[in-house]
């Protein structure tokens, strides 16, 4: 079973994402900001990360840049999942090492399609 870390400051979004990803047979853990996500990754590197952009403490982009410098930090497939939906943001995320990008709002079809693109399914 693949392990996916869901990083979002909204507990509602985390719950929705958890339900969708559990249906796709992922084991889920959650973090509510980039800093907590980084700690979680140091303890146990996930196979996939669903990542919000705007969060307190450390935002998604900072987290991603730090993650990719960590030991084993290139392993997780990172899928951004954010309301930031302009080309500039998407480009920045991809340059920072994201693998795929979901523009909120999302549904099960989109998550499934994007995880498939990213080679996770």
């Amino acid at each position: 079973m693949k392990h996916c870390l869901v990083v979002d400051d909204s507990s509602v979004i985390r719950k929705v994402a958890r339900r969708i990803l559990e249906d796709l047979s992922f084991e889920i853990s959650e973090a509510e900001d980039g800093l907590k996500a980084l700690t979680a990754c140091r303890e146990r590197m996930p196979d996939a990360i669903l990542l919000d952009w705007n969060m307190p403490e450390m935002d998604g982009l900072e987290f991603l840049l730090s993650l990719r410098k960590e030991d084993g930090g290139n392993k997780p497939i990172v899928v951004f999942c954010t309301t930031e939906n302009d080309v500039a943001h998407i480009t920045r995320a991809m340059r920072a090492g994201a693998n795929e990008y979901i523009m909120k709002p999302f549904d099960k079809d989109i998550v499934e399609a994007k995880f498939q693109e990213a080679g996770l399914l």
Partner: protein, 285 residues
């Protein structure tokens, strides 16, 4: 809506579009036609069907046919048909058409354009191999409304996120507010025609590759056979027909036969008879 009205609708749709409406599909009728009824100022389906039967109801009638026959479509829907395009059909055609240097592709149920544009993207990605070749993509559909959308190539955020990798979105689309428009370069690769598959389509000419996915399922047996047999006449013996994942020619017609090991691909029976060598396909892993 009373039973006789449903019966009328069934007959009408069958005659106009080939769509076979079974009694279990009543829910579909309601969800698709209530918006049409409201748009034309009718309270419900009963009034809508009455309006269809009045003289001068052409607009209502064509709106009904459009609403009932429009299908959801995604970019790179089902994956495999596009993989087969890149790995099997296109290489085969580059070889077979080396003299003529023209490849003609027909998307016979192009809907809102995602399928032809997905093929256009594949062609763009393979541009180096295609140098000197002219590739024509013709997208046809029954519905004016979807063809208009296809032509404009403007899609919602939802639509561009199903099946389209983000890199392709950045590369081939331009953002317009919350919508995304496919770039003019790709739009110009596809020609659009309104076409009903029940009618004669021989004037479209001969095609090397025909995509006809997820439309035959709506037809009854004799209509399927008729469409397939007429399509076979538009394909050379080394051409390909691509059907949807839930569709087959087996048990319907001898005009086509499945291509071995390549699900969803068919060639005309003439191909087998003439002993044409099919491209070898190695399954990875």
């Amino acid at each position: 809506m009373i039973a006789s009205q449903f019966e009328y609708l069934k007959q009408y749709l069958k005659a106009k579009s080939g769509l076979v409406l079974t009694n279990e599909k009543q829910y579909l009728v309601e969800s698709r036609l209530l918006p049409v009824a409201r748009r034309h100022g009718h309270a419900g389906l009963s009034e809508l069907v009455q309006a269809m039967q009045k003289p001068g109801s052409t607009q209502v009638c064509s709106d009904v046919v459009e609403a009932m026959t429009t299908n959801e479509s995604f970019f790179f829907r089902d994956g495999t048909p596009f993989q087969h395009f890149k790995e099997v059909m296109l290489p085969a055609m580059l070889k077979a058409r080396a003299d003529r240097r023209t490849i003609r592709i027909w998307c016979a149920a192009a809907s809102t354009g995602q399928e032809p544009y997905s093929l256009a993207i594949c062609l763009k990605e393979a541009a180096a191999k295609l140098a000197g070749f002219r590739v024509e993509i013709i997208g046809t559909d029954l519905s004016n409304e979807v063809l208009e959308k296809a032509k404009n190539g403007i899609y919602s955020q939802f639509e561009v996120q199903r099946g389209l990798p983000i890199q392709m979105l950045l590369k081939y689309f331009t953002q317009k507010g919350d919508l995304w428009q496919i770039n003019p370069e790709l739009r110009s690769m596809v020609q659009w025609r309104k076409l009903n598959l029940l009618e004669n389509f021989s004037s479209l000419g001969s095609f090397d590759i025909v995509y006809c996915r997820n439309v035959l399922i709506y037809f009854d047996q004799p209509t399927k056979v008729d469409v397939l047999q007429r399509m076979a006449k538009q394909l050379p013996s080394d051409g390909y027909l691509v059907l949807g994942a839930a569709e087959t020619v087996v048990g319907l017609t001898d005009a086509f036969r499945p291509v071995q090991d390549l699900r969803g691909l068919y060639q005309t029976a003439a191909a087998g008879a003439q002993g044409v060598v099919r491209p070898r396909f190695q399954v990875a892993g």
